[in-house]
């Protein structure tokens, strides 16, 4: 596909044209942090964001999503996807989207995710500010981000937009783009490489070595008990993770007591009841009863369980869990480095 | 000759618990008591050792209906104690939520608690069948009050974002614009509510007892959020006192039939509430509300306590128009989240605000770590207990003279209590608290 350039002065008009054409989501400021929100004006767009509180998965896999609605007359699917543009996704989040794309489409194709996904044009953007806990440069370094339609890089005087798909190519019509020069393309590449060098944290070993050693540590109860001693089972590490996608399903009635909905909600394997089974007569069996077992499960899932299927670890190094964990114990880079050093 | 034995345990359609006990034998009133047996809750003690940021969150729980007012009075006292002056934006947002609370509570009281009396129904539920539109409208307006307050405070029962130093979260200008539109769109429903009150006005009992009326007052507006203490006597004499001197006005004293203390100032008792505000601040009333007052035939100084409900109807109109004005100013300036103002000292301070039921005082002392040493809260319903008792003392003989039946007397007394819209679970304390520093 092509590489084009747009001057900084023309960029707002481009975003405005996109907003006028349909819903556009992008990073905006939220108090001291950032979040992907529907844009109302180009000024809100903050491409200099470090990391958003929630990853863009919320657009394809909403925190609460009706799967089926029902009433006296029957039941039906609740899906109504709309075409939209998602602007300003960092490459680590694109890699995470690649993973959830695969996981939601393999074996049993889940249209509740895929419909939202397939109606979204994703424009990735370069990382202007590196977040405090990121380690994206050292995790799954050989896995290339795939699922974006175009890649936007801020360079001197403007932006280079490299298109990857027809959808991406179609964006050019909305702004005053001109073909990018070799020098501009090279500058964009350099900007993106430089971002990799600014990560504050780092995994000290390669994917496979990590996978083997972490898995081998499974039985080390003392290790996991110590690591999880301060864990609140709050599931923040799951909820903010771009590659976590577990959910709960609940039926609820509306006030008329006849109609209602079957809804899926984000769930997290760190929460206490996640693997709890009712056995009857009030008895339960919890397959991961201890905090340590739940903490371990998440880490295993990030570092080993899915590697074969995904072609790399199920962690993209965004650092959201590290920063979000109030007890500051969830950081995969620190935990893995500690295990590797032991 | 009348003989009556009235014993109403836990008067209904009021918040909290109060009893009426009246014995009349052959036309002679032997006993006539308004009793408050509410379980004491010890808030003044509970706040000890809590950080200043938590105190309003605790004392808000004194009362679920006036929790916005308790939060504001508490925070004003804390801000006074900590030497904090909030920004103009915070001030206006707080005024706005104060109006929301007044509106919300009055809508509930007029339509759901008081109207059944005037319509001869035991509660609002039978009215669903007979006066469906009145009930639906009341619920719609109640919901409006709820959403209006929630937009500013996060919710109306125990609001969250009002904190010492300002506002922890603010609505967007867009949300405020939408609120303004909704308030204006509600005007026809307000007019309909006023029309209902007007239609029921002939059912308001004729009874007069001139008393003292105490309310906040300032030179700027029909004081709700802030002002000095003002008293007006039946002859129109007014006097102002600074909030810090609230104890000189309340002069609390103990009576045996009540877990709550009584108050008095210049006369035997005084009243707080919508009627007290109306009598004190009529001249500051919004012109639209004045029109409604005229239409409803109420004017200062009104000495019929049953008219408190009518004064509330005037106030809901005032709340809407005053708020539209506040919204215009807020929208014009644009609203932004501001950092909280930090304490400049740690000491003691008092704060007052008007809650739907009248003037409310809080006072706290803090140590140098910002931890609370103790508090004092004097709530409007407590200030009204003594006035209710004096109303009883005048009303019961009048009812006896009119040869009312026991049932009629009971209803007249219950209605009198309800017209004060009392909030008895607020009744938190009973004796003076000495702060130990």
């Amino acid at each position: 596909m092509t590489a084009s350039f747009i001057r900084s002065d023309d960029f707002a008009a481009f975003v405005t044209a996109l907003i006028e054409a349909g819903p556009v989501y992008g990073p905006v400021a939220k108090r001291s942090r950032f979040a992907f929100e529907r844009l109302e004006t180009p000024e809100e767009l903050r491409l200099d964001y470090d990391v958003t509180i929630l990853p863009p998965k919320k657009l394809f896999f909403p925190p609460a999503q009706d799967l089926v609605t029902f009433d006296g007359a029957g039941f039906r699917a609740a899906l109504e996807p709309t075409e939209k543009v998602l602007l300003g996704v960092h490459f680590y989040d694109v890699k995470a989207i690649d993973q959830t794309d695969l996981l939601f489409s393999e074996r049993n194709y889940d249209i509740n995710y895929m419909a939202h996904r397939e109606t979204t044009t994703i424009v990735a953007s370069n990382i202007q500010t590196v977040s405090k806990r990121a380690f994206f440069a050292s995790v799954g370094a050989d896995v290339e981000p795939q699922g974006h339609d175009a890649f936007l890089t801020a360079i001197n005087g403007g932006y280079v937009l490299e298109t990857r798909t027809e959808r991406g190519e179609a964006l050019l019509a909305f702004g005053a783009f001109q073909p990018a020069t070799e020098a501009q393309i090279a500058e964009a590449a350099a900007v993106n490489v430089a971002a990799l060098e600014r990560c504050p944290e780092e995994l000290e070993h390669g994917t496979e070595a990590i996978a083997d050693k972490v898995r081998a540590a499974f039985q080390d109860e003392e290790l996991w008990t110590t690591l999880a001693a301060d864990c609140f089972s709050c599931g923040t590490c799951n909820t903010v993770c771009p590659t976590c996608y577990c959910f709960d399903v609940q039926d609820t009635w509306n006030v008329d007591q006849t109609s209602g909905q079957r809804t899926r909600f984000w769930d997290g394997c760190l929460t206490e009841d996640f693997a709890k089974c009712s056995l009857g007569e009030g008895a339960c069996e919890n397959f991961r009863e201890e905090r340590a077992a739940r903490f371990r499960h998440r880490l295993m899932r990030k570092a080993t369980y899915l590697n074969e299927k995904l072609g790399g670890p199920a962690c993209v190094g965004c650092g959201r869990c590290s920063a979000g964990c109030t007890a500051d114990i969830a950081d995969p880079a620190r935990v893995i480095n500690q295990i590797m050093a032991s | 000759m009348t003989t009556a034995r009235i014993r109403v345990d836990h008067v209904t359609r009021v918040e909290g618990h109060g009893n009426i006990v009246v014995n009349v034998t052959d036309g002679v009133v032997e006993k006539c008591e308004w009793q408050v047996p509410e379980a004491p809750r010890f808030f003044e003690s509970m706040v000890r050792g809590r950080h200043y940021s938590e105190v309003a969150r605790i004392t808000s729980r004194i009362c679920g209906i006036c929790s916005i007012g308790h939060t504001l009075a508490s925070i004003k006292a804390t801000e006074d104690a900590l030497g904090i002056e909030v920004s103009e934006q915070s001030w206006k947002l707080r005024e706005l939520i104060k109006h929301a609370e007044n509106f919300d509570s009055h809508v509930l009281h007029i339509n759901i608690l008081a109207a059944p009396d005037l319509l001869g129904a035991p509660s609002v539920f039978p009215l669903v069948a007979t006066h469906g539109e009145v009930v639906a409208r009341a619920l719609r307006l109640k919901r409006l009050g709820h959403e209006w307050g929630s937009l500013i405070g996060g919710r109306t029962t125990h609001p969250m974002s009002i904190v010492p130093g300002g506002m922890a979260e603010v609505p967007t200008t867009k949300e405020l614009t939408q609120l303004r539109e909704r308030l204006l769109a509600a005007v026809p429903e307000l007019e309909a509510t006023v029309a209902t009150v007007l239609a029921l006005a002939p059912n308001v009992p004729a009874f007069d007892r001139p008393t003292e009326y105490v309310a906040l007052s300032n030179d700027k507006d029909y004081a709700l959020y802030d002002g000095d203490i003002q008293s007006v006597l039946p002859d129109g004499t007014k006097q102002r006192y600074p909030v810090a001197d609230y104890k000189q006005v309340t002069n609390e004293f103990v009576v045996p039939q009540s877990t709550a203390k009584y108050t008095k100032n210049k006369l035997d008792s005084y009243a707080a509430g919508a009627l007290a505000r109306f009598n004190n601040n009529y001249d500051k009333l919004h012109p639209e509300a004045k029109k409604v007052a005229e239409a409803l035939g109420i004017q200062p100084i009104c000495t019929n306590p049953y008219m408190n409900t009518v004064a509330q109807a005037v106030e809901i109109v005032s709340d809407v128009y005053e708020s539209v004005g506040l919204l215009d100013e807020l929208i014009a300036n644009g609203v932004e989240l501001e950092p909280l103002v930090e304490p400049t000292k740690f000491g003691s301070g008092a704060g007052a605000t008007e809650v739907p039921r009248g003037i409310l005082f809080h006072e706290y002392a803090y140590d140098d770590e910002g931890m609370c040493l103790g508090g004092n809260c004097i709530i409007p319903t407590n200030q009204n207990h003594n006035n209710i008792q004096h109303d009883f003392d005048k009303l019961v003989p009048e009812l006896v003279a009119q040869d009312k039946s026991e049932k009629e007397m009971e209803l007249a007394l219950e209605m009198l209590v309800r017209s004060y819209d009392p909030c008895i679970s607020c009744s938190t304390h009973y004796l003076d608290v000495k702060f130990v520093r």
């Binding site: 108090r31 509180i53 929630l54 301060d230 609140f232 089972s233 709050c234 923040t236 909820t239 609940q250 009635w253 909600f265 984000w266 929460t271 206490e272 009841d273 905090r291 979000g324 109030t326 007890a327 | 836990h10 209904t12 359609r13 909290g16 047996p37 379980a39 004491p40 809750r41 010890f42 003044e44 509970m46 938590e54 969150r57 605790i58 729980r61 009362c63 679920g64 929790s67 509930l108 759901i112 035991p122 509660s123 539920f125 009930v135 639906a136 409208r137 619920l139 109640k142 919901r143 996060g154 919710r155 029962t157 125990h158 969250m160 979260e169 989240l337 679970s425 009973y430 004796l431 608290v433």
Partner: protein
Amino acid sequence: MSKPKVAFFDFTCCEGCQIEFTNYGDAAFLELLNHVDVVEFREAMSEKTTEPIDIAFVEGSFSREADRARLESIRERAAIVIAYGQCSASGGINALKNHQSDYKQFVYGADAEQPQLDSQKAQPISAAIKVDYSAYGCPVNKYEVLQIVAHLLHGKEPVIPNYPVCVECKRRETVCRYDEADHCLGMVARAGCAAPCPAYGVPCEACRGFVDHPNVPALEKVLVERAGFSQKRAADKALMFNANDLEALS
């Protein structure tokens, strides 16, 4: 089929949870009345009943021995008893005085021992009678209450979360209080409220009680290390709504 009979009762509380019932708006409230008969609701109606009740919502703590008999009579008449609001479910804010021994003297001085001022430790109503379900919160989440009612009307056990408030905070993408140099109890607090406090810029005070197994030592550690609390303030922090549970845990 006659509609289930629902009644509201109040004990030591601020009655704010009852008020939430009036905040549904006309459509939802009137629709709800198509499915239940409200037979007693002192705060809003004069009617009273001595008949059997299908669902009793009991608000307020059990703080006076004198209230036991009334609670027992409610239990006898009611098929389902719901502890309505945190005062009732755990003792709530009223229990904040439980750890003090001088609260009566502090507030009532010389009159502290007068009989009408009788007040023991504030306890959940479950200290006096069996409770079937709890609607947590100070105040309750009125939408959760609707769901509890809907579930019970269909004979289904209500679904009450056993995960912490952080989950709901994240679902609505609220900036964490700890990121704003504040503190919070969300990590040990039972969710179900939809995390309104952090969303409005203030800490979660765990007004719905704790999750089943709160990590209290870790909470104290975080309050000291991240929020800069003194050890004492950290240890006392969760007393506001959880005095009884903290005592039980220690």
